[in-house]
């Protein structure tokens, strides 16, 4: 680019000129996309009286951290639930679903892609069929069938570990690995478990990263299932809790927005750190799924 500018300044000036409207459109769209996020952050810092007072919310001179300390003290009894506990619940559930899901689904995908066993073809077909069933279609019967498990931690975790989409994404990745790699290891006397854990799994980091991020994103925002199953404030995950908190009368909007910032912050941090994986993960899930 620098070379081109040096050797051909005329073209670069025309090019530069054409970039101005391009950036203008990008900027205006960017502002529109960012506005709700900016509003959330501003409202979390502004006095409660400014949340619903038009542009006053953006008055930086009034900003402070009182809503953050406010939300911590509003949510600090057993009847309201404790702020730290909502995070602990969401964190535990998400880590368990992502972690156990990676192990269980990649193992299944490997067995489907590489091993020969009775019922393999049926299992593969079943996975493809299950891929079509959205969670929403089974939420109601599950609410009835597992009603005895209401208000437990495990019922928030167990149903989401086995995941047909994750199996499918791993499966497509594994079928892309040359078979000669497995065979070389088998000749050396390695069994299927060793081949999988010591050779295939370490080679498949991009697939693990994509699936991890995708599951993390879905699980952290999970709402429908907790609505049906969780009423105990000590077991509520964050998205359910913010809707309960926002529905309280009178609503403390500044604190609700501070809660919102805290809720989304972990995801944004993960997003910024693993941006490339994030975007690839989303793209691959949709293109393949």
């Amino acid at each position: 680019m620098a070379q081109m500018t040096a050797s051909n300044p005329k073209i670069s000036r025309r090019e530069l000129k054409s970039r101005i409207p391009h950036y203008a459109v990008l900027l205006v769209t960017g502002v529109l996309f960012l506005a709700p996020v900016a509003y959330m952050v501003a409202a979390s810092l502004a006095p409660a009286s400014d949340t619903l007072a038009g542009f006053t919310v953006f008055d930086v001179t009034q900003w402070g951290l009182h809503n953050y300390s406010g939300v911590a003290s509003s949510l600090s009894s057993d009847s309201t639930g404790h702020l730290w506990r909502f995070f602990a619940v969401s964190f535990t559930v998400t880590v368990a679903v992502v972690g156990l899901g990676l192990i269980v689904n990649s193992m299944a995908a490997y067995a489907l892609a590489r091993l020969s066993w009775r019922g393999r073809a049926v299992a593969l077909l079943a996975i493809l069929l299950i891929l079509i069933v959205p969670f929403e279609a089974v939420a109601v019967p599950m609410f009835y069938l597992y009603n005895d498990a209401r208000n437990t931690l495990w019922i928030q975790i167990l149903p989401f570990i086995g995941n047909a989409l994750s199996i499918f994404l791993f499966y497509s990745f594994f079928t892309g690995i040359p078979r000669s790699i497995d065979e070389a290891a088998r000749v050396d006397g390695a069994g299927p478990w060793r081949i999988f854990w010591q050779i295939i799994a370490p080679m498949s980091k991009p697939a693990y990263a994509s699936v991890a991020i995708l599951t993390f994103l879905t699980q952290w925002g999970s709402f429908l299932w907790p609505v049906l199953m969780i009423s105990d404030p000590n077991l509520r995950p964050l998205p359910l809790q913010i809707s309960v908190f926002a529905g309280q009368l009178p609503p403390a909007w500044g604190q609700v927005m501070a809660f919102g910032v805290l809720l989304v912050l972990p995801v944004i941090v993960v997003f910024l750190v693993f941006q490339r994986w994030f975007i690839e993960g989303v793209a691959s899930s949709a293109v393949k799924g």
Binding site: G54, Y110, I127, P159, L228
Partner: protein, 289 residues
């Protein structure tokens, strides 16, 4: 190796799914001391034709269809426009890509709460103050979520804001695979920007566009979280103008304890999803073949 994942999927997808078909034929209620009585297809007949029940269900179906009919073309077009905007490798483009993608990491329950404040009625809401400001007071305050005319439209806007970045990323990946030689050839033929878009870009990403559109259609049918949060957490959402199929299923199960009817709704919901998925699968296979 596949056993853990497959047993989990059986327990939490296959069994509940089959159970929902069973439940839909019975008068099932939670905590009912009497045994459920067999009703045949009565639940289906009722949700489709009984004036007391079918009104809400058919409304819900209609809202899903309107939602899909607006969101699918608008969001896909917007996502394509954004993808084209951020495709060029210009300085700062990574920032804009992340910016447009940012809402995707927001749990939809939180999105609903942020927008509930932005759309607040009276002149305190951010949108109402912005409109009053830019129109010099000529544009009066609207009750965006409460009015029958704008309630569904408001939900559509916040859903597009949250979901658009997802489609953008997929389309961006497709755009980057269009061979640059095609653009060079078009330029030699003195095709202008619009002609290049119609004759090179669109055919290049056609299958991905169709895929994205069908994928969004299925997502449009699954809409639940934002409606539930806005209607139940003091959002003042006009329930009658926005209820969706999943909202009906959950309220039938949860508020009316009518598991039978809720299961029938789930089964109908699933059948619609299956038809769309089959179309989608065909399109994807064509793409690969």
């Amino acid at each position: 190796m596949a056993a853990p994942a497959i047993s989990l999927l059986l327990l939490f997808v296959a069994v509940p799914f089959l159970a929902s078909i069973g439940f839909s034929l019975y008068n099932v209620r939670l905590g009912d001391p009497r045994d459920p009585s067999f009703m045949g297809l009565t639940q289906y007949v009722r949700i489709l034709t009984d004036p007391d029940v079918s009104g809400q269900f058919l409304d819900a179906l209609l809202h899903n269809l309107i939602f899909a009919a607006v969101v699918v073309p608008v969001q896909t077009a917007l996502a394509l426009a954004l993808a084209l905007l951020v495709k060029k490798n210009l300085p700062g483009m990574g920032v804009f890509r992340s910016l447009y993608f940012l809402p995707v990491v927001f749990p939809i329950a939180l999105v609903a709460i942020i927008w509930r404040l932005i759309l607040a009625r009276g002149d305190q809401g951010l949108l109402n103050s912005a409109l009053a400001f830019f129109s010099g007071g000529a544009f009066g305050s609207q009750d965006w979520l409460g009015s029958e005319l704008t309630a569904l439209a408001s939900v559509i806007v916040l859903s597009i804001w949250q979901g658009c970045g997802f489609q953008m990323v997929i389309l961006l990946a497709a755009l980057q695979q269009v061979p640059p030689e095609l653009y060079e050839a078009a330029e030699l033929d003195r095709a202008n920007g619009w002609q290049r878009f119609v004759h090179v870009t669109l055919p290049g990403v056609r299958t991905t566009l169709v895929f994205v559109a069908l994928y969004t259609t299925i997502l449009s049918l699954r809409v639940f979280d934002q409606i539930y949060v806005l209607a139940k957490s003091g959002g003042g959402l006009n329930e009658d103008a926005t209820r969706t199929v999943m909202y009906e299923a959950v309220t039938a199960a949860f508020d009316e304890n009518n598991i039978g009817r809720a299961s029938a709704i789930s089964v109908v919901f699933f059948l619609i999803v299956v038809v769309l998925s089959l179309i989608q699968r065909r399109v994807t296979t064509e793409k690969e073949g």
